[in-house]
Amino acid sequence: MQLALNQDQTQVLDFIDSLARPYASVPLHDHSLALESAELDAALVANGFLDVMAVEELGPVTAALVVEKLARLPFAIEAAASALVRPLVDPELPRPLCLVEEGRLTRPVRFLRPGATVVVVGPTGVRSFTASENLIAPAQEDTLYAYPVAFLTGLPEALETHDVDAAEVARAWRVAIAAEAAGLLSAALASTVTYVSERKQFGRPLATFQGMRHRLAEDQVLTNTAYWLALRAAGTGDAGDAALALMHAQEAAKRVCYDYHQFLGGMGMTLEHPLHLWTYRLKLLTAELGGRGAQGLAAAEALWG
């Protein structure tokens, strides 16, 4: 047992911090429902941050740390699937990587665009194809999710089959989403804490009211536990740990997304405040891989048969 960051991990995270500094806040007067940055994406790729899992002294825990860290930014970055799942399927697959479940092809697909790699995971195996224009339908223009999303209109006739265990890919997928959710939880909490510490009503900051303090403190516990379960799942590579981590993160997301918008009151209903850039990513992640119940069933199977 050794739960402190090692020197390599600290270095990687520090480097990401300095690289991402220009993207740490929302550009002035930008009231977008979702933010993306091609420059940031390119910089992350150029510096190899999405490929740390394959580096022996870094590995999956560092990849999860990178994903968690990047999710804290207001910009949506396709990092989770690329950093934690792609190495198992084919490290050379072009990004962005879109993971979809066989049999659930009607769901909004994050980062889907022409040229993206769609990986279909399910009972018949793991298959992929490059998305082309004719297979993509745009989502409603003012969709609330703070990810770029689109729909698949169907599958191409030929998909590339990958020689990898679908259950193992699902495990890594759970770890990836758990790590991303952990970062989103952390950033959403920080954003809310800042607001309620400054906003005054009845002559004092909202954060001085115990009705809010105790809920925020519980949200801190959920956020902290989600972080550690995600890292642990990355570290052990265990199927049960992965399902527990994602189940817990999805549980936490459901609770805090309600709390935080509630605490921000009217401001939390506007696009002037960036909170939605984290919470509406979290909300979409609660639907990933069948949601909490599906993770619960997967965990129960792994733990108790």
Partner: protein, 381 residues
């Protein structure tokens, strides 16, 4: 980061497990249903702790100058986990090795160390913690039990309540008021429980016989040398001790073991095929593992010699969440367990429901998280 135990740590765990297997009686599970403070378990622990001492696993985490093996915080954690998961066969003596001994070593006079440390190391002494009072629970600094120094003696008058182990304890680690200064007026006195003027009354409880008491002090007279630390130093000393106790009981391992036990019983009944049951069991497992991992993150801080502050409150609250939901799971899906079908699950329930109350309430932990982890502006007083 490394989330697996080392081979040495695994070996240490197995050493303890093997010892327990060889030394606990066959009917131990039913026996452990007696509360940890019951006369039966206390008497058992007085013999069992001697065996632990002889085997060198009563306080292996103590530094060598105290007679320990100087093992680190991870080994202390493993020891605590294996004892608690087995139903805590050390009874109330777990407190001795977790914090009373180390606190005596740090703050005690030579006379106090000579008098109290040896019985602890032999597995032969039982302490109680005279903290809460009828009007001073979470608001501990409101305590009123008064100690007055006269002619080289302290004369103590007042009342303690919800005191665990008081019925059979040899010594009380007693908080008294020596001046009206709220926190700096509190002083610790080590009071032998057979001192005239002490009356102990048991309060019937949900958590097993002999666990909760009220203790009355009527002109209880002890020499000035019974004072522990300086007058007014109690708050500093108990902050040190409680920080250790907060990690002292690894409740999440018993919660997880109880959950596993419940699942096995549900499987035998054919009930574990229901999706609702499986999902709820998994949710509870996630809470147990979450609590475990964040507690380990705090242990890591101790290993690294870093200050342990409010993150231990966060870890404790995670434990409370796990206990709450595992207790509820068992009652919802296996109600017969608490009515005779499973001594182990009843034992867990009775220990689990205390998680948010003992050693500082869950709500106090939330206050600490709000102020010291989230750094929210403080509530007006």
């Amino acid at each position: 980061m490394e989330f697996e135990w080392t081979a040495e740590q695994d070996a240490f765990r197995h050493e303890i497990r093997d010892f327990l297997h060889a030394n606990l009686p066959g009917d131990w599970e039913r026996f452990a249903e007696h509360g940890p403070a019951s006369p039966a378990l206390t008497a058992f622990a007085r013999e069992f702790c001697v065996k632990l001492a002889d085997a060198g696993i009563l306080f292996p985490h103590w530094p060598r100058e105290m007679g320990g093996d100087g093992l680190g915080p991870w080994e202390q954690q493993i020891l605590a986990e294996e004892m608690w998961i087995a139903g805590e066969p050390r009874g109330g003596q777990y407190m001795n090795v977790n914090w009373i001994g180390p606190t005596l070593q740090k703050y005690g006079t030579e006379e106090q160390k000579a008098r109290y440390l040896e019985p602890i190391t032999k597995g032969q002494s039982l302490w109680c913690q005279g903290f809460s009072e009828p009007d001073a629970g979470s608001d501990l600094a409101a305590l009123r039990t008064r100690a007055t120094l006269a002619d080289g003696n302290y004369v103590i008058n007042g009342q303690k309540i919800w005191t665990s182990y008081a019925g059979l304890a040899d010594t009380c680690f007693l908080l008294t008021r020596t001046s009206d200064d709220r926190k700096r007026g509190i002083t610790i006195i080590l009071v032998p429980m057979d001192t005239p003027g002490i009356t102990v009354r048991q309060i019937p409880s949900l958590i097993g016989e002999g666990d909760i008491h009220e203790v009355f002090f009527d002109d209880v007279t002890v020499p000035e040398s019974a004072r522990f630390g300086d007058e007014g130093q109690a708050w500093e000393i108990i902050a040190y001790s409680l920080r250790n106790e907060r990690l002292g009981i690894p409740r999440f391992v018993l919660a997880r073991a109880a959950l596993d036990r419940a699942v096995q019983m549900l499987k035998a009944q054919g009930e574990f095929t229901r999706e609702a049951v499986r999902i709820e069991a998994a949710r509870c497992a996630a809470l147990c593992e979450a609590a475990g991992t964040v507690n380990y993150a705090v242990v890591q801080r101790r290993v690294d010699g870093l200050a342990v502050g409010a993150e231990s409150s966060s870890a404790r609250y995670a434990t409370v969440m796990a206990e709450r939901d595992v207790c509820a799971f068992v009652v919802e899906f296996l109600p017969e367990a608490l009515a005779g079908a499973s001594p182990y699950l009843k034992m867990h329930h009775q220990r689990g429901i205390v998680a948010g109350v003992a050693a500082g309430s869950a709500e106090i932990q939330l206050n600490i998280i709000a102020s010291d982890v989230l750094e929210l502006p403080r509530e007006p007083r």
